[in-house]
Symmetry: none
Subunit: 213 residues, 4 copies
DNA sequence: GATGAATGAGGTTTCATTCAT
DNA sequence: TATGAATGAAACCTCATTCAT
């Protein structure tokens, strides 16, 4: 594709690999779309059809439907996180970085049923993904805290939970009220700002301070 | 089969009715539990087993699995809404009423997979349910607005969306971090308070300010 | 079908069960035939077709293809062993009892691919079956030994192994040379008789008496 | 690809041939092992993997899985028979020759699932193989008969059948009771000896002397 | 009206064979 | 010519729904 393309010294073995790789990419792309549209319960055949390969090819690349789903989710998650990282690094203002992160996350994962399902079922595509996401959000949080912009007792877990929660909202309103989630995001961000001085409730509430039932 | 079969003057038809009603109730109760535990994708047989009736009986009362699911969701939703109404009426302070509403909603719908799924898929169990919920929340909003406690441009749709969004968070953390969602709720409520003066973004963004794609 | 058929006092519940039982029997019968003809690797659909039931019915009665196979084998084995027991008890002469046992076994299991496969793979349909068979053969052996008719160092394991071995021979010649296995049986029985006085080789041969490779 | 590719005066075509022959040998060797271990139902890929060639190469040499299986069986059978022949020729004592033949057969074909399967399914790898085996056994039989060591009415078919039968026994006990089949062999051989004077039953029993069923 | 067995389309996965490189 | 990815027809099994009793 680039000018530097080796015209002939490439061994034959390579060209086959390229074809397989193209198929693999097609499968992943199709699966990404289909899973996003219909969730993880779709018929595998739909993916095979959409990617233009036979069932056998699909199962050669991914030994199990679940493997395919996980691979797709991890890839989507990975590329999203990479993008998020880059944007955050490029943004001077800590609060802007945090805001931008949420914006991008919700824009990207909007309409992706499989991703939202994964949040509901496993708290994220994969434990590893969840961990990476946690680390990244922790950076954003630290930056905001150091700048005195974030409520001091907001934990990373709070922000992670907020992400998943908003993701759900985006999916819900995706088709009908496209822009509405931004309002919710603003509300949440305002609630996160250091202007709010009251401490957040203890995650493990004292039995005497909580109501009976 | 014998004459003694009808011990009371009640005609046979009526006793059938009572029996049928009891069955219907058993089915609904069992379905409520099972759908809440496993989501809408459970095997119908599990419900028949748990309710102690045969498949035929179940399908006599509910012609479709989906009918059963909807009925159950509507009933659960109805009783929840009635309770919410009563509590709200009994609460003087508008803000307390709003807060209590969210608390109760999230406490009740926590761990109910079917309800959360319904928010994701259809924005609520039923259009009718969504409408009733909307109306009720509108009342709470109006009370808070009149008392000057709520951000003036918060719409009812915003609050409804927030409900669904938080519901998701509750389900996610239900088993592992039981109390954490209360922190998220506090953050959101703080963001809703009238202390926040900046206007919320327009739900239907102007074409010139939004990006092309 | 017979005159004694109860016209009505049979409760409804019973009749359903009877139908199901008839289906179950039909499945077992069909499976018995099909497995015997084609071995354990046949398509389950063939069994469903032959028994006149749908796939679901088949899988309601037997949760797994393997369950079905095992059930069929156990039943066939059980009825065969019961018959064998009865015959042996009815036979005075110990040697005749032993002979008759082999005759009946080989006659019955002739042409049954699944049974022979089970001997090859697991040494019998089931550990339990193998055990019962072992016990029964042990009785026969003891009777012959006590009468001084059997080579004294023949073990029950030897006889069991001989059974499986001959079974194979029967299957092989079943279609082409129907009666030939009887000659083999006679040869084996002659080899088992106490006329043969030389001791049998030790099952764990001494390293010095065995050849190098 | 370069001129140096042809170090010897042999034309390129010939080196191809050599390569192809090496591949064919590798396939046969691997297939022999794999079929012996797992039987004829193994995945063809396992053979390709073990032989280090691609699927295409495999199918160029053997147009069908069954062709490969048959070829392998014939070869194994051929080399086995050649060895058997040589040993028999080298053995003076006829009875020893017969005994040695069985010993060698059972030792060699022990643990070879494909061979045993072939006996069950087709009475041997191939009609041709069966024929050659038959001829060879016939020689052994004649020698023993001439020496007056063998029961006079033992046919070659009897001995062939006995071979297949014992083969099965060997496979069955191969892993668990390695030496036991030798006891069975001894019993059979004792039954074959001319000490046994009673005539063997007629292979095609007269309808009047045989029982009705 | 109740029962639960029966149905069969549809889902995931395997594997002998072909074909583009 | 060798390669191994691609193919797709089964194979096994599930489950919403119907129906005979």
């Amino acid at each position: 594709m680039t000018l530097a393309d080796q015209p002939s010294p490439t061994p034959a073995k390579r060209s086959r690999r390229a074809d397989a790789e193209r198929n693999r990419a097609a499968i992943i792309e199709a699966a990404g779309t289909v899973f996003a549209e219909h969730g993880g319960a779709v018929d595998v055949r739909e993916i095979a059809r959409r990617s233009g390969v036979g069932m056998g090819t699909l199962y050669r690349h991914f030994p199990t439907k679940d493997d395919l789903l996980l691979t797709v989710l991890e890839l989507q998650f990975g590329s999203w996180l990479a993008d998020a990282h880059q944007r955050a690094t490029a943004t001077e203002d800590p609060w802007q970085a945090l805001t931008g992160f949420f914006e991008q996350m919700l824009t990207t994962q909007s309409r992706n049923r499989a991703v939202v399902e994964s949040y509901t079922t496993n708290g994220g595509p994969t434990p590893a993904c969840a961990q990476r996401c946690h680390s990244f959000i922790d950076e954003l949080r630290t930056r905001c805290l150091d700048a005195g912009l974030l409520r001091p007792d907001v934990t990373t877990a709070d922000l992670v939970l907020l992400s998943g929660s908003l993701t759900q909202a985006v999916l819900t309103t995706g088709d009908t009220h496209p822009g509405q989630w931004r309002r919710l995001l603003r509300i949440s961000l305002d609630g996160l700002s250091s202007r709010n001085t009251e401490p957040l409730p203890d995650p493990t509430p004292h039995p005497d301070t909580s109501r009976k039932d």
